[in-house]
């Protein structure tokens, strides 16, 4: 096997071209979940795949992690082809799926030792590795308890550690919605863990439904819409494009409402309300109000919201994302 020290590194930790995948549904026409998805994750970077439920995030991760195959398209992970070099990809990556994959009846320690043994470590090496990971993920106190007694956050951390047992570091990490269903405190803790991985030089592909999470953690964010990337850039790039806040205006007349619907990202005809993207700064809100209603007669009231993922989608894509 060629070693990276003697040869040049591949340009990307993860590279996918034209990944397409459909699921047939017993008689019904097949649903195209991924449609020519292209991805490039530079090594040592944290990349967020942002999208609502049903966007195809898990499917993309499962293809890249070799757990399922694409109908067409190619992908290389850590320099290995996901189809031709499946075993090599598996040994190079760490995967934390959307649902924790640990043995409930085994203790945290037993789980980690087992995983480490499966990656080929000897019994003593596996014991040391398990101890090290329990320490690193702050699970030492709970090491001897069955995993079924763990909280959601602890289970996630154990799952992350499990993915790490035998992988070389810095490696390539896949984290599928690592914080979905966690309380705010556990979410913060998990963010710390991801930052820790990044500091060690890991390449991370994480999926999330939360703009804020992508913003906090990722160097680059890609918006997944209808199976392909609708927009991609740094958090700042995207925020520039989607604003980040929404100014909801309750208008005084139907005419004013109709005049503004074209640029609105939120509509409520019954209440004559439109929502417009803004960065939320006083300067921008004031400028927006002045521009829309120079005479000061058309706006009754206003409220300012943080942009939701739906707003981001509306701003960057044509349609409201379908909630599965």
């Amino acid at each position: 096997m060629p070693s990276p020290s003697t040869q040049e590194k591949p340009p990307y930790a993860i590279e996918a071209h034209g990944l397409t995948k459909s699921y047939g549904n017993h008689g019904k026409p097949a649903v195209r979940v991924l449609d020519h998805l292209d991805l490039r994750v530079a090594h040592g970077s944290v990349f967020a795949l942002l999208g609502p439920n049903g966007a195809g995030k898990t499917t993309a991760v499962r293809i890249l992690a070799t757990l399922t195959t694409a109908d067409s398209g190619t992908a290389r992970v850590a320099g290995y082809d996901v189809v031709a070099d499946r075993s090599a990809v598996r040994r190079a990556i760490s995967l934390t799926g959307q649902f924790a994959a640990v043995d409930e009846t085994q203790t945290g320690e037993e789980n980690l030792r087992m995983m480490a043994r499966l990656t080929g470590l000897s019994r003593p090496a596996a014991r040391r590795r398990a101890e090290e990971l329990l320490e690193r993920f702050r699970l030492t106190d709970a090491a001897r308890r069955p995993a079924r007694t763990y909280s959601g956050g602890m289970r996630r951390r154990l799952d992350l550690a499990a993915g790490l047992t035998g992988s070389p570091e810095p490696g390539v990490f896949f984290l599928d919605e690592p914080t979905t269903g966690l309380d705010p405190r556990s979410r913060q803790e998990l963010w710390e863990v991801v930052r820790g991985l990044a500091e060690r030089g890991a390449s991370v592909l994480l999926t999330t439904q939360y703009l804020e999470e992508a913003d906090r953690l990722a160097d680059r964010i890609a918006l997944l819409d209808k199976g392909s990337i609708a927009a991609e850039g740094s958090a700042a790039d995207l925020k520039g494009r989607v604003a980040g806040h929404r100014l909801d205006l309750v208008l005084t007349s139907r005419d004013a409402y109709l005049r503004l619907t074209g640029r609105a990202v939120h509509h409520s005809p019954e209440t004559l309300t439109v929502g417009l993207p803004t960065d939320g700064s006083a300067a921008h809100v004031r400028a927006l109000l002045d521009e829309i209603d120079p005479a000061g007669t058309e706006i009754d009231r206003f409220t300012l919201h943080s942009a939701t993922l739906d707003d981001v989608f509306l701003a960057l894509t044509s349609e409201v994302p379908a909630h599965a």
């Binding site: 070799t66 320099g79 043994r117 499966l118 990656t119 992988s167 070389p168």
Partner: protein
């Protein structure tokens, strides 16, 4: 060297399927030791079956000449009945694995389907052997007096282990076939039923005519005949070899079928 260049992550030696299977067997055993209800049940049930057959039905069943008591006749049948029951738990365990995310974890650690199933089967075999020893012990307490030679004992152990392994692997395949652990345990019913239409508990001649063909040619019968003959120190002809051929055949089919099923379930 293609221009795509070297891999980013250098890899160590990959462990082989045998390492994987032995780690998986350790896991299954640990988990079954922890499930104390199921464990007690799997040890108590064989003993209960033994006592029920000997004391409830024993007086009513005519086994024909040559057996001092029903216990001398029925031990092989109880052993295989227990092997069936014990093996059936494999289906539930495999089905539980398929339901949770753990199989994805194993796959992402590059563990194949066959080693995962082999681990379950190995653990099932160890559990069953404990139950078997227990059944022998209780049988001896209630009057079973085996007269097997050393080579006879060896062949008894070989036939028993072969059947336990084969039935466990069939059960593992059923676990892959079933969509839920509950369904899996339902599907294994037929396996526990198989010893009844054989010479396990009563001579085949006493059964209705239409059953003879099946009873004489089904896989449990040669196992019963060879275990009974060997344990009582009587000539068994080629029955043990027929039994081992059946076990080998069933195992081969089960391994092949479960390989295919595993691939379908994890597509």
């Amino acid at each position: 060297m293609p221009e795509t260049a070297a891999p980013l992550v250098p890899l160590g030696r990959a462990p082989g399927p045998l390492t994987h299977a032995s780690v998986m067997a350790g896991r299954s055993l640990r988990v079954s030791l922890r499930n104390s209800d199921a464990l007690i049940m799997s040890l108590a049930l064989p003993i209960m079956l033994m006592l029920i057959f000997v004391y409830f039905f024993g007086g009513a069943i005519e086994t024909g000449a040559g057996y001092d008591s029903y216990v001398m006749y029925v031990v092989p049948g109880v052993l295989l009945l227990c092997a069936g029951f014990g093996a059936a738990t494999t289906a539930t365990a495999v089905s539980e694995d398929m339901k949770g995310g753990i199989i994805d974890r194993f796959r992402s650690l590059d563990v194949g389907g066959t080693p995962v199933l082999a681990g379950h089967v190995a653990a099932s075999t160890v559990r069953n052997l404990f139950a078997t020893v227990l059944v022998f012990g209780v049988a001896v307490l209630i009057g079973f007096r085996p007269a097997a030679s050393w080579s006879g004992w060896l062949l008894v152990a070989t036939v028993l282990i072969a059947y336990i392994v084969a039935l466990s692997w069939i059960s593992a395949a059923i676990g892959l076939l079933a969509r839920s652990p509950e369904a899996a345990s339902g599907f294994t019913f037929f396996m526990s039923f198989l010893p009844y239409p054989s010479s396990a508990f009563a001579p085949i001649e006493k059964m209705p005519d239409w059953l003879h063909g099946f009873a004489e040619n089904q896989p449990i019968t040669p196992a019963i005949e060879s275990l009974r003959g060997l344990l009582l120190g009587e000539p068994v002809g080629n029955a043990p070899w027929i039994a081992l051929a059946w076990a080998g055949g069933m195992l081969a089919v089960a391994i092949a079928a479960s390989g295919v099923l595993f691939r379908i379930r994890t597509r």
